[in-house]
Symmetry: C2
Subunit: 397 residues, 2 copies
């Protein structure tokens, strides 16, 4: 058998911890809170079908032909308006790049900015796929402590001082994956200022911001950016549907132009049919009303999950109580081996994602992420009871 001589960008075998976990959790016997999927029963299937029908009727040939690397202009204009309306971000058309899912923004920013040995500062814990992407470009990481108000700015400035080769700060300020925490307004202003002061870039990843079921909206970090150091990214994956792979970047025109060149080398452009279809959808449907429906359902499911924690979990367990998004975060004191805990829970036919892969450095033991968006209400109630029993067993040991 040929032994292939891979670049060191390729992760070593056996590092796909999460894949292994999701596979274990896929057993139909198991109630899984491990995934991170939106509720498919709310996908606007009929309305998207109508939108696609209109695309084929109006400009089918154009939708099927090669398109522009920056994206369909009509969609870029709608995104431009959207970030102004929702996040108070002033953008010109030249500041908007359509991408193949928001994952592609991570990849393009990593490719364009992160050289081997550069430091990327991340929330502790953070979105694990961001770690994977930046790692392929040779990033070192330093984790920045969080509290209930998000990334701590004094800890961030310390990290900036002690890592002078920092290139990028990655943050999910709203209903963070995995913790569900939201960064406070004042910290967002400070973050934009610190980025300018230390001449590093902020990648502000906001997939969940619109899925708010409690509390008040907080404007984007990007809305406080005076210098172009903040790059803002979002997606239609949580508000509409992820299957189309549509994300976007809003950044300084020079950054957008450079990333467009790299995007051409990555996939030439994003699926035209999907872009035109979303344009039609947005022009003929009330996205806000649809997002309200999603938020209401997720809020209800989150509450069931929190009720389950209160009712069934051992005393002393800590948890976040998010005002939006799809995830909450649990800390079980006294647990040393989270993966062993995970296996114990599997025996009780319930699953989550152990906290370990969300940490850039040393993980906090006994932590895990629960997803509430993709489980029916009866499953949440039953699953939390099982999970509670499993945790009681584990803590008693």
């Amino acid at each position: 058998m040929t032994k292939f001589n891979y670049s060191k960008r390729v992760p070593a075998d056996g590092t796909d911890a999460v894949g292994t976990i999701l596979k274990a959790a896929a057993d139909p016997q198991i109630i899984s809170f491990a995934g991170g999927l939106p509720a498919p029963e709310l996908f606007p299937v009929k309305e998207m079908k109508e939108a696609v029908d209109r695309v084929f009727a109006k400009h089918g040939q154009e939708a099927m032909q090669y398109g522009a690397a920056k994206g369909v202009t009509a969609l870029r204009k709608l995104i431009q308006k959207h970030v102004k309306d929702k996040e108070d971000v002033d953008a010109e058309l030249e500041n908007v790049l359509v991408t193949t899912g928001s994952e592609q923004v991570l990849d393009l920013v990593g490719k364009a900015f992160v050289d081997p040995g550069d430091t990327v500062l991340v929330e502790q814990p953070t979105y694990l796929c961001a770690l994977d992407v930046f790692k392929t470009y040779g990033a070192n990481f330093a984790g920045v402590e969080m509290d209930e108000q998000g990334m701590k700015m004094d800890a961030l400035e310390e990290a900036l001082k002690s890592h002078p080769n920092t290139k990028l700060i990655y943050t999910v300020p709203n209903f963070q994956n995995p913790t569900g925490r939201t960064m406070a307004l004042e910290r967002r202003k400070q973050l934009a200022e610190l980025a300018a002061k230390y001449d590093v870039y902020v990648l502000e990843d906001n997939p969940y911001g619109e899925i708010r079921f409690a509390g008040q909206h907080v404007p984007a970090v990007k809305s406080f950016d005076q210098t172009g150091h903040v790059f803002y990214m979002s997606t239609f994956s949580k508000t509409l549907a992820p299957g189309f792979r549509l994300g976007w970047l809003v950044a300084d025109e020079d950054v957008v132009n450079k990333l467009t060149v790299l995007k051409q080398s990555a996939d030439l452009h994003t699926d035209n049919l999907a872009q035109y279809a979303v344009v039609e959808f947005l022009q003929n449907n009330d996205l806000d009303a649809h997002v309200k429906e999603i938020s209401d359902l997720y809020g209800k499911r989150k509450q069931l999950m929190v009720d389950g924690i209160k009712k069934y979990f051992p005393a002393g367990v800590k948890y976040t109580d998010p005002e939006g998004g799809m995830f909450l975060w649990v800390e079980v004191p006294g647990v040393d081996d989270t993966v062993a805990l995970f296996k114990e829970c599997l025996k009780h036919n319930v699953a989550f994602v152990p906290g370990d892969p969300f940490f850039a450095g040393a993980a906090q033991p006994g932590t895990f992420r629960l997803n509430y968006s993709n489980a029916q209400e009866d499953k949440i109630t039953a699953g939390m009871k099982q999970l509670g029993a499993a945790l009681q067993d584990a803590v008693a040991k």
Copy 2:
């Protein structure tokens, strides 16, 4: 204004020669043979609409949800059958990866295999976007001489000997972009053998192979691969439509698994709706009959272009006469500055892509690429007359 501190992976400003050319050629006054687009009038718009309708009716939620990084299983099975039927390539399901256009295969192979300073051997001239992609990963290039039978195998072996750090050989064996040349059968066998002998990889890029309007089919290099050193890639962009961005890789299972991990970091997975739609299209339509229609039209247009060359071009001009694909290649002896020639032709309201960017090293002056797939017949006739006049002027100077 902020000066952004990019990685050296980002190309310097002003290197987008082709973008500049395509922009110049976009003037509606100009008859352009510069682009590389399929004929949109042959896109099966009605049939694709029906296919999408069936997807929404049968499994709309699934098509809109997150999907598998390797692609929709039904599509991978159809690709597996397709490469067997068309190219005599034996593949298991595990050998097939669906990608976001075939451009993504270039990117993933570059990322997985090409380290800074590695040599990539390419045909001289070669597909310019492949140069762009591998360059972002730090590749050095060496060009391998071609003749009418494609890449010369003695020249290739010389290059392998003189560049011991070669990692990859990139080839477009059928109706090559930009020359339209096809690699002879015997050379394909030799290529597979040389790759195994020198333990380097062949990336066989076959977007055009099915668009044959003359001569006999030649089996893929991959069909002669005994050792897994050949990676085969193709796309639906030329046989169906490019707007969906659907390509694929067929390679050793280990390579597919490693590239799947990198694909997850690039865009998680390829558009599900597009994948399901193409499955429905293939199950309910005769793709071969459709490809025959495309080939017939392109053959007719190629012939008109060759007729124009014979009638209007100065004596001594050489050209290829492809048996398929979308491009032919012209060499005008005595021309030193191809870009000046291009500008002269623009004055005659006709455009092409100058040969320079297709060369990894020193370009052959007086060469250019003509596209015949995307111009109506009357435009070809008129454009070739204008181009002939421009060349007569240039040669006379």
